[in-house]
Symmetry: C2
Subunit: 344 residues, 2 copies
DNA sequence: ACGATTCTAGAAAGCGTTTACCCTACGCGT
DNA sequence: ACGCGTAGGGTAAACGCTTTCTAGAATCGT
């Protein structure tokens, strides 16, 4: 097994100094054509590649963007990750992916790892449980990252104030929920069940809030019996509807906190002999790729997932001092399909 | 903005040498308790974290596992990635993710980047177009990675022979297709349409092969008219069925090369007024999370996605010389649901 | 023809760790 | 009392690159 060649080997073979090789490789400094050619031949000959760690140690950037999220398979996260990855390679960065599975300690751990790695940007994706000490801890993280020269981006997570050293890239969570609920309301529905997510999570609190505000805007009573919380799984949606039915709660429409819950809900409805959308209208959130494949095709709130990811990277990599604490909010829209019907 | 502290700052504050600090941090070398405490206090005081690049440069491992795949959102890849990420963090490694979108040049580029990064393992995921020069190029990659001290893993991609310096972790692609087709055959179906993937791709060639072998085992004629190729999208499945119908090809069952194609196919069938499974049985591949949510719930070939990913990492990180070129094959099974019905 | 620029390229000082090597002091067996 | 093994800790040499500083050669204006 050959040892991997270093820059000195290349320099020796080309008969120049290591400085010259380095300059040919980075291509910024003027180098005579003949010399450049010699060096390039040596590089090819030896199949030389630079050592990224040495380069990062010597220079100052690591060319790495870090992505921290709940998991990697939920479409919501996967699509944001896709946008991040896309823009990262566009900007010649590599993409480090870590998952927390909702564990705050793990998140702390990861941020430490990212400081070690000198990531150019650290992107925290998705909602979070805004606990008492979350802000304070997040502030320490942010400081640490700033000192390490990394940009912190909160993506799909609320800002922590304008003086907080982080970029925020949100989508209009509450607004999407408001539109969805309004859509149901203006179709004549008044008894709209909200199948919500875990309490305290910024994402699902916001969706619930949008639901509430829409009802209020239509002067419809917010009936607590219509609001259920669960995790975000298909099973949860299934059971939530079963419970509603078992409790004899009346409703003509369902607003589910995401498409998986909506799918489970529709399954429960079908199992109970109720037709969607004839008996009950259903609307989801996230507009996952399978939404159009359900029967009936699911109406859902569409999010600009990929653009969220792309914007996060773009802003983070943008140099200039004012850029370190921006806040952008992306819009949502409803993808209308067949799971909603006006109430006659 | 504070400069980030180095090990010398810690050493100075604790009144010891940098060597001692390093030893306290790695914890291998004996250090007196009092000294250790002093150092740890200084570390906390300064909020010091090691510089991963300096460590990687000095030591020899980068603690990074690289994952190269088609994209990040297709459930097939996402679940494998999930397994990789899981096992990587289990082994205290970070996980670098790159996508190729099917571009072989991009794959080459990425492997070079991974050599630069000194990744402990490079995992190439999923099928590939086995072109003439693929083998040769892959061989050069493999050599380069081996010299760089990285392990190469082919995951869900066929081995290139026992003397090829790479680990292979496959699932029984053809076997799964064989089972699926056999399931249809033993339910009495004889006219089974195969909605295949792109020609030349190892994954879809294998699935097609399993289909063929099953028909032959049942002594059923393989009718070329029943075999269509497309990309792997829902739309592709939809159009493939439309075409079959328009061409007046007779069939009582469909074997789709993945669940997305199956979903599109079912939609086309429904649009044409055909009932699944009363008129046509359908079976998918990959057993994506939405398969149970379709109407009817889709029978599909279940793959051990996460275990593929986990095994890839586990084998790659396992030290010992013989371990550098192993080959494991994982099994599949059919997840039976409601989209298949015996032909009466 | 001669000083002033402009190119080109080398020498060497870091970048922040780890680790091989060396040294001191102390306990212990004989 | 003496040699020795060992725990504890310091010194300095890598690790492989980038970049500043410096300097010779080539070009140019007058």
């Amino acid at each position: 097994m050959n040892k991997r060649p270093t820059i000195r080997d290349v320099a020796a073979m080309a008969g120049v100094s290591v400085a010259t090789v380095s300059r040919v490789l980075s291509g910024d400094y003027p180098v005579a054509n003949a010399t450049r050619t010699k060096v390039q031949r040596a590089v090819r000959e030896l199949d030389y590649v630079v050592n990224a760690h040495a380069r990062a140690l010597s220079g100052s950037t690591s060319n790495v963007v870090a992505l921290v999220m709940y998991d990697v398979v939920t479409p919501f996260f996967a699509f944001i990750a896709s946008g991040v990855e896309y823009q990262a390679t566009e900007s010649d960065r590599l993409c480090l992916v870590c998952t927390t599975h909702g564990d705050p300690d793990r998140e702390l751990e990861i941020v430490k790892l990212m400081r070690e790695q000198h990531a150019d940007a650290v992107i925290l994706v998705g909602g979070v449980n805004m606990s008492d000490d979350y802000r304070e801890r997040m502030y320490r993280y942010a400081k640490g990252l700033e000192d390490a020269g990394s940009r912190l981006v909160l993506c799909g997570r609320p800002s922590l104030g304008p003086d907080f050293p982080a970029i925020t890239v949100e989508y209009d969570n509450a607004g999407g929920a408001f539109s969805a609920t309004s859509h149901l309301l203006s179709s004549g529905h008044r008894r709209i069940a909200m199948l919500g997510g875990p309490i305290g999570n910024t994402t699902f609190d916001a969706r619930l809030d949008g639901y509430r505000r829409a009802l209020e805007a239509f002067r419809v009573h917010v009936d607590p019996k219509l609001i259920i919380h669960g995790d975000m799984s298909q099973e949860s949606g299934f059971r939530q509807v079963q419970r509603l039915l078992a409790d004899g709660v009346e409703f003509t429409a369902i607003f589910a906190a995401n498409d998986f819950v909506a799918a489970g809900a529709m399954r429960a409805l079908r199992a109970a002999g109720k037709s969607v959308p004839d008996d009950v209208s259903v609307i989801g959130y996230d507009d996952t790729p399978f939404a159009p494949e359900l029967t009936p095709a699911l109406t859902s709130v569409h999010l600009p997932h990929e653009e969220l990811g792309r914007t996060a990277v773009k802003l983070a990599l943008q140099r200039g001092e004012g850029s370190a604490r921006q806040h952008v909010m992306l819009g949502t829209h409803i993808a209308m399909r067949d799971s909603v019907r006006p109430l006659i």
